[in-house]
């Protein structure tokens, strides 16, 4: 384990402290401080990864270093670092995406009144995620897990003066909290049965059969519930589209590397435990597969460019869960990494468009942007092709590995689900691209359609003459576009499935792609793109007519399956109803019992005792004498021991 590894999560914290200290006097510095801290962090992570690869197969053994955090009786809680291929790959990914996003933010957030605060929060966010990746036990993981949740709350609600942003932040926090409750319960069940928080020790205990299958399944399902909340899987996905209220670079970071990746990483980290419970794996696969399709359908009808991307993220996270649930750690992690690159790219490109249009996020108000911002359009196209899984873009290799893994697991229904989602994915992302970048500028829509993305960009500042964004915004797009195109090659059969061999630490596993399946899924994706072209590029088909033809379905999708309304109803009617019932019980019965008892003491016994107080001094003195006599008699009858 490299000696400098601990610096990787600590450096952003140092950056945070420096920003806090200097922010008041040199607010301009905070952006550069954050870039420098996270840049160094990335460099060290990269060095560590290089060292690990240089060690060959010896490097694939998981190394853990811990120290006692504190001891209570016989319980000793430990903190430490874990270093294995999984952690190394994730570490580099997180640090890299965060670095690119910080550089982008230098331009995007320039002039925002909360500039310093923004970079301070970003530093906490990055530090929390890096710490989570390096956690060798459940307890430390849970601490950083909550830190990630907290910082995402701070960043989603960054423009807290807007009620929608504040509400979205609370929604994200509370929704993920539901999952966290499951995670905590799962951790405690595992601890109560194995006496350890350590991943490897729990895995050893499970291998030794110390846990019953039923209990293990229950514990792993509860742990998975944590991942469902964090990684926005059905039915706890509702916070993620609303989280679009945060600044766009924050969305890029949340969707690519930090917040939502934490859930997938949790499953990958505890993969040996999941592998021991076939039922839990089935649930992971089914939730993932269902979420992929479910979210993709909603992505079809969103008119806000960021919401299209948000649903696409939920859908792609579903693919990752599907891959993990199909017993392929490599496929899930591979898709996580390629997705991180192209999703960060898509968000940052969308952010550049929004920035240049003065806060316009509505796809219907865009159009014809290709001529005015060609670089952004082309990089977005790279991301879209990767998302649609067109070879040789990175998404193709990883998504098809996921589908191949599902097909190998023999689950035909899930395979079909994954293939169907491919078509939807290609359709919605190219719908967004065609609407935004091709055709004629459609101009500003009536007030209330678009959202202004930052203070200073008031409504009605739609600028139809906007050109390409500044280099500090475009340069990260180009870097990410290169990676979105090329990053998939490390896991492709062209390199013998190097990534899978690296992450699982064994040379022989790499069934690679199923050529027939790959061809099929590519064809399906191409159909999706063609359909999008027919609707939004060439105009052969009318989206309005189709929407009218299947109006009930369309309404259902626009209303997001009424899930938000259902949850709001559940909270307002059921939860608050139950709460008011309990409040009544508390006030009337519990408080009533206590108050009644007090009244009984006061009114009955108190009344009886007041009769003894006559006010006559001699009777008090008599009582005094009798008391003394009784004490003396007792002392004589029961003499005190010498």
């Amino acid at each position: 384990m490299p000696a400098y590894l601990w610096l990787v999560p600590v450096l952003p914290v140092i950056g945070l402290i420096l920003i806090i200290v200097s922010g008041r006097y040199r607010p301009r510095w905070s952006g550069y401080l954050a870039v420098a801290a996270i840049g160094l962090s990335f460099l060290l992570a990269f060095l560590a990864l290089g060292e690990l690869i240089g060690q060959g197969t010896a490097g694939t053994v998981s190394r853990v270093e811990t120290f006692d955090w504190f001891r209570v009786g016989s319980i000793s809680l430990q903190l430490g670092l874990i270093f294995d291929p999984l952690a190394a790959a994730m570490l580099v990914l997180v640090a890299f995406i965060s670095l690119v996003v910080q550089i982008y933010s230098l331009g995007y957030m320039a002039g925002d009144p909360g500039y310093t605060r923004y970079f301070a929060f970003m530093c906490i966010f990055t530090a929390a995620m890096l710490g989570l990746v390096l956690a060798p036990n459940f307890l430390q993981l849970y601490i950083f897990w909550e830190l990630v949740g907290l910082s995402s709350y701070l960043l989603i609600g960054f423009w807290y003066e807007r009620p929608a942003a504040a509400a979205a932040a609370v929604k994200a926090f509370v929704t993920t909290r539901l999952g966290d409750l499951g995670l905590l319960t799962g951790i405690l069940i595992l601890y109560s049965r194995t006496g350890s928080f350590d991943f490897s020790q729990i895995a050893a205990a499970v291998r030794a059969g110390n846990l019953g299958t039923g209990l293990l399944t229950l514990a792993m399902l509860l742990v998975f519930l944590g991942a469902v909340g964090k990684s926005a899987q059905f039915p706890l996905h509702v916070w993620l589209p609303d989280a679009m209220e945060g600044p766009t670079p924050v969305s890029a970071l949340i969707h690519a590397a930090t917040m939502v990746a934490a859930g997938v990483y949790l499953i990958a980290r505890t993969f040996p435990l999941f592998a021991a419970s076939a039922a839990a794996m089935q649930v992971v696969a089914w939730i993932g597969g269902f979420t992929a399709l479910f979210a993709a359908t909603q992505g079809l009808v969103m008119t806000d460019i960021k919401r299209v991307l948000a649903y696409s993220t939920i859908s792609q996270l579903g693919y990752m869960m599907l891959g993990l649930g199909a017993a392929s750690l490599a496929a899930g992690m591979f898709h996580l990494i390629t997705h991180a690159f192209f999703k960060a790219l898509l968000f940052l490109a969308a952010g550049a468009v929004i920035h240049q249009l003065g806060g316009e996020q509505n796809l219907l108000a865009m159009g014809g942007l290709f001529r005015r911002m060609p670089v952004t359009a082309l990089t977005f196209l790279c991301g879209a092709l990767a998302l649609a899984a067109i070879p040789p873009f990175s998404g193709f290799w990883s998504k098809d590995e996921v589908i191949a893994a599902v097909e190998r697991s023999g689950n035909l229904a899930l395979t079909l689900l994954a293939l169907a989602t491919s078509a939807l994915t290609a359709f919605y992302i190219f719908r967004a691209w065609f609407l935004a970048f091709l055709g004629q500028p459609r101009g500003a829509l009536p007030a209330g359609w678009g959202r202004d993305h930052a203070p200073g960009h008031g409504p009605g500042t739609h600028r139809p003459d906007a050109g390409e964004a500044s280099p500090v915004l475009v340069a990260p797009l180009v870097i990410l576009a290169v990676l979105a195109v090329g990053a998939g090659l490390v896991g492709s059969p062209l390199f013998g499935g190097a990534f899978a061999a690296f992450i699982t630490g064994s040379a022989e596993v790499s069934p690679g792609l199923d050529p027939g399946l790959a061809f099929l899924s590519t064809a399906i994706s191409l159909v999706g793109i063609l359909l999008a072209w027919a609707y939004y590029g060439a105009g052969w088909l009318s989206a309005e007519a189709t929407a009218r033809a299947v109006r009930p379905v369309y309404i259902l999708l626009v209303k997001r399956y009424y899930l938000d309304d259902l949850y709001a109803w559940l909270v307002r009617r059921v939860l608050l109803g139950l709460s008011s019932l309990l409040a009544w019980f508390d006030r009337q019965i519990i408080d009533g019992a206590v108050n009644g008892l007090a009244w009984l003491c006061y009114a009955v016994f108190g009344w009886a005792l007041t009769r003894l107080q006559t006010g006559r001094t001699p009777s008090y003195a008599l009582g005094f004498v009798v008391g003394v006599v009784v004490i003396v008699l007792v002392a004589i009858v029961f003499p005190p021991a010498r």
């Binding site: 007041t610 107080q613 006010g615 006559r616 001094t617 001699p618 008599l622």
Partner: protein, 110 residues
């Protein structure tokens, strides 16, 4: 017949009992105070008698066995102070209520 410790203790007990009866049975507060003084002095007799007749335990060598007599001196002092305070209170009550009978002074209740 030599006078022994028992004689003194019997005297002390008789005086104490008379004082106790007076303190409980008297209606006049001044009488009660006088009875209390009687009880104090009964105790003083017992203390001095103990001091005079009992062998001096090793722990008391420092005070040359005079503990009991010193106690008696303290009790006389405290009794004087107590009587002064009690009479002052009694005077105040008398000025307010024109009575010194405990039957009429029944403020000390709920």
């Amino acid at each position: 017949m030599p006078v022994t410790l028992t004689h003194y203790l019997v005297l002390s007990a008789i005086l104490f009992a008379i004082g106790l009866f007076g303190a409980l049975a008297k209606r006049n507060v001044v009488g009660i105070l006088m009875s209390i003084e009687l009880m104090f002095n009964a105790v003083n007799i017992a203390l001095v008698a103990f001091s005079r007749y009992l062998p001096v335990p090793p722990a008391n060598q420092v005070a040359h066995g005079l503990n009991g007599q010193i106690f008696a001196l303290f009790i006389i002092t405290v009794a004087a102070a107590e009587a002064a305070v009690a009479l002052a209170i009694l005077l105040a009550i008398y000025r307010q209520r024109r009575t010194v009978s405990v039957e009429d002074i029944n403020l000390m209740k709920w």
